[in-house]
Structure formats: C-alpha cells, structure tokens
C-alpha cells in the first residue's frame, strides 16, 4: 500500500515553547491510528496540524502527496469532545448541513425536493450511527453519547479522506463509551476510513487502533520544561482487530507504557 499521509520532520513551537519536534511517520490508507500520551505532550497539537487549524513550524505534512491546507476542509472530518454539533439545528438538519453547503453555494440552504433529498441522505447516515429514532430532536435533548453519534454522522456524510477524533469519548460514561467503541470500529471497517484518534485512555487506544503512537519527550531539561518538544516515542502496529490481542499481553504492554509515561509526569 502506498503512503497516504506522510510526516516529514515536523516540529511545532510557540515562541520558545517547543511542543513537537522531529515527527516522522508514514500512514497508509485505512489505518486507525490512536494517539496517546500524557497531557500537554502535543498529541492534540498534532491533530490540529492534521486538521489545518495550526501550521507546523518546520517540516512537511503531506496528505495524498500534497501539502495539507492552511485551513480545515471537507477532506478531513472532525469530532471534538464537545461543541461538535450545532445547537440550533435538529438532528437531521445537523447532518444535512454538509450537503446544503455543497449544493447551495449562495444560501447554504436547500428548499423543496432538494432539501428532502438531502434530509433523506442524512437519515441514512443517522441510521448508520444508530440515531434513527431521534431524527427531529435538537442536540440539547440528546445525551452526550448521542451527540457524539450525531457528530460522527455529520462528519461521515462528507465522505472525508481522514476522520479525526479529538478525545471524542472523554466525557462519556464507561458503558456508553464501550458502545461508541463498537460503533467507531464498525464504521471504520465498513467504510474503510483512515482514522486518527487522540485519547488519554491507553486501553482505548489499544482496543481501537490498528496502530498506536505514544507522544512523549525524548530529552528533558529539568530547568526549562518547554525547551524540548515531544515526538512519537513508540509506533506500535497493533494486531488485526479480527484477532483480538490476548488480554494479559495487552495489560503487560500498557503497564509498561503507563510506567514510562507516568514516570515522566511525576518527575515534572
């Protein structure tokens, strides 16, 4: 498989504050990359580079051979932890909005049969994420998990090349989180998505990803914490989702990783 996304010596700093340094990796289409690491280790910053809301200070981030744009585009779908859905639109309208933007340049709004068609397409995606029972509700009437399902449907209707998930389940209850994991894995397999997901839950990272990146600092200056940035310290290919990892083995790896990452947190 050819390279789909390439990180070429990427670094990012704000003034003297170095967040990321020397990120190198290649990702092929269809991979599910989970990004883990301690807070403040730059995994969310990296996602912003992918999203286009931040630019790398040096190095290149290539998507399908081309430099990634300076601003967000429909190529890259996003689900944030919060505020991903529009509170003034009902569930169907939230999802159909992506189609309305595309099909009505001037008003961003469709009428009559075109609107009906867009809403029906939205319904298909809402069914795919299991929200077909709440089509006419407003986001404030939905639970946190349902809102995240809605945000997924919104993103997927644009058929993005890359789906970015920024701690999408961080605010959810454990039970609901488990359902969401199944949903995301199902969608990933069914639609052959390329996914990048930031999480601070290591187990979640292992469970979902086909590849796991650990962000951490290689060098540390005890007197200036921001002197050196993080990089990808572990790049682990995980086993195929169809043959789940042996639970004990997973625990062993995660303990080891936790030890390395938490040790640094405590030492800071």
């Amino acid at each position: 498989m050819s390279t789909f996304i390439e990180l070429d010596r990427i670094s990012k700093h704000y003034g003297n504050n170095v967040v990321l340094e020397n990120l190198n990796a290649k990702v092929t289409e269809g991979e599910f990359v989970t990004l883990v690491g301690a807070s403040g280790c730059g995994k969310s910053t990296f996602l912003k580079l992918l999203l286009g809301t931040e630019r790398s200070s040096s190095g290149e981030l290539l998507l399908a051979g081309k430099s990634i744009g300076r601003e967000p585009s429909p190529e890259r779908g996003i689900v944030f932890q919060k505020y991903s859905v529009f509170p003034h639109l009902n569930v169907r309208e939230n999802v159909a909005l992506g189609l309305e933007f595309e099909r009505s340049a001037l008003l961003g709004r469709l009428f009559g049969s075109k609107r009906k068609e867009a809403l029906e397409q939205a319904d298909d995606w809402l069914e795919a994420v299991g929200l077909d029972h709440a089509l006419n509700q407003y986001p404030h009437q939905l639970s946190g998990g349902m809102q995240q399902r809605l945000a997924l449907a919104q993103a997927l209707i644009k058929k993005p090349k890359v789906l970015l998930l920024d701690e999408p389940f961080g605010a959810l209850d454990p039970g609901i989180r488990k359902d969401m994991h199944e949903l995301v894995l199902g969608l990933w397999r069914k639609y052959h998505l390329t996914v990048f997901m930031v999480t601070h839950d290591l187990r979640e990272g292992f469970h979902l990803g086909s590849r796991l990146w650990v962000f951490d600092k290689v060098r540390r200056d005890p007197h200036a914490a921001n002197r050196f940035g993080s990089t990808i310290t572990y790049d682990l290919p995980l086993r195929s989702q169809d043959a789940p990892v042996n639970a004990e083995e997973l625990d062993a790896i995660s303990d080891q990783l936790c030890a390395t990452t938490t040790k640094h947190i405590f030492s800071e």
Partner: protein, 271 residues
C-alpha cells in the same frame, strides 16, 4: 434551624413576598395623600386615587375638547411607533455590524475601536446636533434612540458572536462551508436569540432617550405629555402616565422573552 442562606421560600410565600412591597407603596401613598389633603383640599402633589381615576378618564376615555382626540391613546401610539422604529433600526444595525465584525477579523479591526469610542459619547449631549441635522420632526427622535442604543447592541452582538465555540466554526469548515455560508447558517441563527437578549437590556435606555427627545421637541407622545402637564402640577396625569410607561416597558420585555422562548427553544434549553 436551617441557615438563612439555605432557606428557600415556597412558591406561594415568594409570590406573597413579591406583592407586599407594592402594597406598602400604595398604602404609604394613600396615607401621605390623606395627610396632605387634610391640610389643604386643593393639594396637587399627591392626588387621591379618585382624582387619579378622573385624570385617567379625562385623558383616555374622553375626547379632548380642543382637538377631539383621545390624548392618552394618541400619545401612546406616537411614542410606541417612535420607540419601535428606533429599536428596530438599532437592532438591525447592531446585528449586521456586530455579526460582520464578530465573524470577520479584518472587519473587526477598524470597527471595534470606533464603536467603543462612539458608545462612550453621551447620546443626550449630541441631541442638539440631531435637532440641527435632522430637524425637529420624527427623524431626530428616532435617530436619538438609534444612536443611543446601537453602539451597545453592536458591541454586545460582536462579543456574543466571538463567544461561539471555536469548534463549531472549525466543524462547519470541515463540512465544506465557505465564510458566507457559515455566517448565514451557523453564526447568524445563533446570534438572533442573543440579539433579543440585548434588545431587552437596552429597552430602558431606549425609553430614556425617547422621553428626553419628546420632552424637548414634540407635539405629542407620552414624554411630551408628562413634561407639558408638569406646568400645571398635574400629578393626576403624570402618575398614571409613568405607571403606563412602566407597564409598556414591562410588557415589551415579557413579549420579547416569550417570543425568544417560542422561536429559539434550543437557546433556552440549558438555562
């Protein structure tokens, strides 16, 4: 014994406690009026409730002998029309400029300092300028309200627009929206209920400017009437007019709140 800070009055008690101050004011007024009337039957400062009722009857339910008009309603109509015009124009200005500046940084850059400075000009200080520029007709009165209220509305809408979660705007961009589409479909609809909030807050100021303008140069209107009958110490007309103005202000506020709740239920959901 509960701490006072934890004691919540029941609904009925709350209502009763809410009414009591009004009753006390009425009672105090009655007593004061009685005392003054006992000293001087012709006292005009605190007219009795009967005299006030007569005043209302004369102004609202009997045609004026000279003009044949029902002055109370003529005044109300003129004032309400001026206020509605002023507020509508100010709201439109506030929405358009506030929205544009709040969504587009390059528009905010030149406008923000300007609006801040303009909002600090006391509107009444430039009332003479308005009279000179727009004459003594309706326009200058409406303009006073517009000038008095719109800087506040612009600043408020600008700030509310910028308070929308950044994530929403990024999300809209990943859905393929361009600037115009995002303003139209994402920012504008969420700004409208906030505009209603801002208008509700500015109603008091709008009334102030209206009454000031009417007091200085007008031939009808609630403010005009109050200042006219002051010459005859007609408290029996002034007091009901003040109560009526208060009621109109309250009713407008209440209607706007109901309208907002009805049209934008999602906005009031988490409040």
């Amino acid at each position: 014994m509960l701490r006072l800070i934890n004691f919540q009055p029941s609904r009925a008690l709350k209502t009763a406690l809410g009414i009591i101050p009004f009753l006390l004011i009425l009672l105090g007024y009655q007593i004061g009026s009685d005392i003054r009337k006992a000293e001087n039957e012709q006292d005009k400062l605190l007219p009795s409730f009967t005299e006030i009722a007569d005043g209302i009857d004369r102004m609202a339910f009997q045609a004026n002998k000279r003009s044949g008009e029902y002055l109370f309603w003529v005044d109300t109509k003129s004032s309400v029309i001026r206020l509605a015009k002023g507020i509508s124009i100010a709201a439109l200005i506030g929405l358009i400029i506030g929205l544009a500046a709040g969504s587009i940084p390059i528009i905010a850059a030149p406008l923000k300092p300007l609006v801040t400075v303009i909002s600090l000009i006391p509107p009444l200080a430039i009332l003479p300028v308005l009279f000179i520029a727009f004459g003594l007709g309706e326009l200058s009165k409406v303009m006073l309200i517009v000038i008095g209220v719109s800087p506040f509305l612009i600043r408020d809408i600008l700030q509310r627009t910028q308070e929308l979660p950044r994530e929403q705007l990024v999300k809209a961009q990943t859905l393929g929206g361009n600037s115009w589409q995002i303003i139209l479909r994402v920012i504008l609809p969420q700004t409208l209920p906030r505009l209603i909030d801002a208008v509700r807050l500015s109603l008091g100021a709008a009334w102030l400017f209206l009454i000031a303008a009417e007091a200085i140069a007008s031939t009808d209107g609630l403010g005009y009437r109050i200042f006219l009958v002051r010459r005859y110490m007609s408290m029996d007309v002034i007091l009901p007019y003040v109560v009526w103005i208060t009621f109109l202000a309250f009713a407008t506020d209440w209607c706007l709140l109901k309208l907002s709740r009805f049209v934008f239920p999602w906005y009031h959901a988490d409040k």
